[in-house]
Amino acid sequence: MPDPILKPEELQPAAELARKTLEQLDRILLGRQEVHRLVLIGILSRGHILLEGLPGLGKTALVKTIGQILKLDFKRIQFTPDLMPGDVLGTHILQETSSGKRELLFQPGPVFTNILLADEINRASPKTQSAMLETMQENCVTLLGTTRPLPQPFFVLASQNPIELEGTYPLPEAQLDRFLFRVMFDSVDAGVLDEIISGRRRGELPAPTWQMERGELETLFQTMGRIYLPRPVSRYIARLVSATHPGGTEATGPVNKYVSYGASPRAAIAIAEGARANALVAGRPSVGFEDVKVVAQPVLNHRLILNYQARFDRMTTSKLVTELLGQLDETGLNLPKDVELATA
């Protein structure tokens, strides 16, 4: 039997925690409100987030701040071309025990943490990148036949440079699909820069004035699980993901033209979870269509594989998803074309 729908008094503490977290993020990192919201939604959804942007835009700072606010164990791996999987996951080393015996002891890698910052993840080789697959999906590490669970919660917040830069390896689709969101970092405007320069000596971040306790984070996760997903919304999510597949019944013309492979079922799950988290952050007990639209873009924009025609026509996944969201009728009411609905 599903949990009953949250009452206002039940939802209100969790919403307040989310509000405070966002408040701290917005105070520490200036001009990134939307990114902060998406990152928080991703964390509440227990998903991994890929932060993409040019160097120096505050990706690492954001992850560090998140770790501080949530009071979670935080580690960082700087991905380089010579980074090996053992450098990430850990390795067995031969050590002499107190009894004088020599045995292989497992030395955990930096992946054994709550928040892992995989900095410039696309600079590592595909071999090393693939070492993250199990950890991201199964939240565990298997070495020499031994599977070791990762501490919970476990989040990978990876940053990557645009693939056009020198010395980058594109992430394989399997790993990309394991990221809940791909959040794009754009340059901030001049006002924000002026505020940073004038208010932050050497760009040092202020310390958070409030931190979330571990129990509070658990409360947030539990509340997340009780956010109600109405059937019309879940149908909309399913139709939306299905429409990303070329040749689908509701696929639009651009999708048929530019998309080679559509989003996976994992994308539908990610959208549903992300929409739930957005509803929680908004203080609502149920998911609405607007929640889906908020998270659809970061969920889908790294999951659609475009064809060469899209490259020729400079078509991006962001444009495709935006077009798809504009074309698809949320409720499937299928009104005649000459009848339009409008808000009162």
Partner: protein, 464 residues
């Protein structure tokens, strides 16, 4: 009004249902009017008579529209979808949708104010099509018949002419100018011509009508001529009868009376009054006893003659009123039998003792009464022989041909020069000097002294 979300949702669902029903009705009416218009047009083109009842068919869209509405209600989107739309349009964040699973009344206070979402139906095009369709149906119903028969055989507007010809035929039959059988045949022909008349081939119709009209005119003309002849004969007979009546009182001999009666009977028999267009006839007993008719019988005969003459006049008048005979023929008929002088004929009969020819007199004598001064005795006015033009006209005579020089005779030759008088010298100029004005004779040319040598040289011949 935050508590009115359920009511607003119900109103939204009703509004959606009504709008879709109205839209379906408009579409149905549009299609129905168009289809019915085509049907009506087809019926009218197919020359189905009495198409007025087809107008009631326009009301047939009502039950069809009801069926469409009922069918549309079954196809209405489910209430869950309507509720989802309401939730989306009112930015309720899924709370209204969550009512499908639980009581969300606790969250009503945090929802935006309830409002029924608005529909915008782009109705201009459907309504325009409906108007055009209705206009088409109305046009198909009210279109003049001549326009619905565009591809059919147009009849000519010959009703008036055919009617006139039918009246003519009827009149000809009534006056016994044509017999009943022929008249019926003509009437049938006219009806057939009117029925078969075609605007695409009018020559045939006009030729047929002209033929009938010409036939009527010929019959009328023939009847008019017959009427003139009979009127003339009747007038002559009437004149003779009246003359006989007056002559009998003046002492006409019995032989003359018998001869006149015989002549009168012959005249009436020759007129063949009972044949042709004359309706009446002379009583046979009067004709049989012409020689012994008393005064009353004579009066009766004359009345019969007058009646028959009037009947002929009436017939001719009827023909003239229908313009079947021209004015000249009418005048000829009206003047027929005029200017007869029974008094003179009576005088003739009373004085005639032997060999009287009353018929000739009655036929040829339109006796004049003399000139203004009384003139001589009444003389016959005959036109059979031309008047002699002797001594009344210039007589042309051919002149004899003039005498030629070749026919002249040599009388003598004078060697001396002619003697000239002073007048001759004065007139002597040019080459024709001394030429006589008549007789064609010519004198030798006078050679002047200065020319003489030249002339001699001309006539001088070598070796002679």
């Amino acid at each position: 009004m935050k508590s009115s979300h359920p009511a607003a949702l119900q109103a939204f669902a009703r509004k959606l249902e009504y709008l879709l029903a109205l839209r379906a009705v408009v579409q149905t009416a549009t299609v129905w009017f168009f289809v019915w218009g085509v049907f009506v047009l087809a019926m009218r083109i197919a020359r189905v008579q009495h198409t007025e009842w087809l107008a009631t068919g326009l009301l047939g869209f009502a039950p069809i529209a009801m069926l469409v509405v009922l069918r549309g209600r079954r196809r209405l989107p489910g209430f869950a979808k309507v509720r989802a739309n309401y939730d989306r349009l009112n930015a309720c964040g899924g709370v209204i949708m969550a009512e499908e699973a639980a009581d969300m009344s606790a969250w009503q206070a945090q929802l935006p104010e309830a409002a029924v979402p608005k529909f915008h139906w782009h109705s201009a095009r459907p309504l325009l099509l409906l108007g055009l369709s209705a206009l088409f149906a109305a046009t198909a119903q009210l279109l003049p018949e001549r326009l619905t028969q565009l591809r059919s055989n147009h009849s000519l507007e010959i009703g008036q002419l055919v009617g006139q010809l039918q009246v003519e035929v009827k009149t000809l039959a009534q006056e016994k100018i044509v017999d009943e059988k022929k008249a019926d045949e003509l009437q049938r022909q006219l009806s057939q011509i009117q029925k078969d008349s075609s605007g695409y081939d009018p020559n045939k119709t006009w030729e047929a009508l002209d033929h009938v009209k010409q036939a009527n005119a010929d019959a009328a003309k023939q009847a008019a001529e017959e009427a003139v002849a009979k009127t003339e004969s009747l007038a002559q007979a009437e004149t003779l009868a009246k003359a006989m009546q007056e002559a009998a009182e003046a002492g006409m001999t019995e032989a003359t009376a018998a001869q006149a009666a015989q002549d009168l009977a012959a005249m009436l028999n020759a007129a063949k009054l009972e044949e042709g267009i004359l309706n009446g006839k002379i009583p046979p007993e009067l004709l049989a006893g012409l020689n012994g008719l008393n005064k009353e019988q004579m009066d009766k005969l004359m009345k019969a003659l007058e009646f028959n003459k009037n009947s002929l006049g009436l017939t001719v008048s009827n023909l003239a009123s229908l313009k079947m005979i021209d004015a000249a023929t009418l005048a000829k008929c009206q003047n027929a039998g005029q200017c007869h002088n029974p008094g003179a004929l009576a005088d003739y009969l009373s004085t005639c003792t032997n060999g009287c020819n009353a018929v000739a007199l009655a036929e040829g004598m339109r006796l004049g009464r003399g000139g203004p001064g009384g003139g001589g005795p009444p003389a016959p006015m005959l036109w059979d022989n031309d008047t002699s033009e002797k001594d009344q006209k210039f007589q042309e005579h051919a002149l004899p041909p003039p005498a030629h020089l070749s026919d002249a005779q040599l009388v003598g030759v004078s060697k001396a020069a002619p003697e000239l008088s002073a007048n001759d010298i004065a007139a002597g100029h040019g080459a024709l000097d001394n030429a006589a004005a008549s007789g064609g004779s010519a004198h030798a040319q006078v050679i002047l002294p200065e020319h003489r040598q030249t002339v001699q040289t001309f006539f001088k011949r070598d070796g002679k």
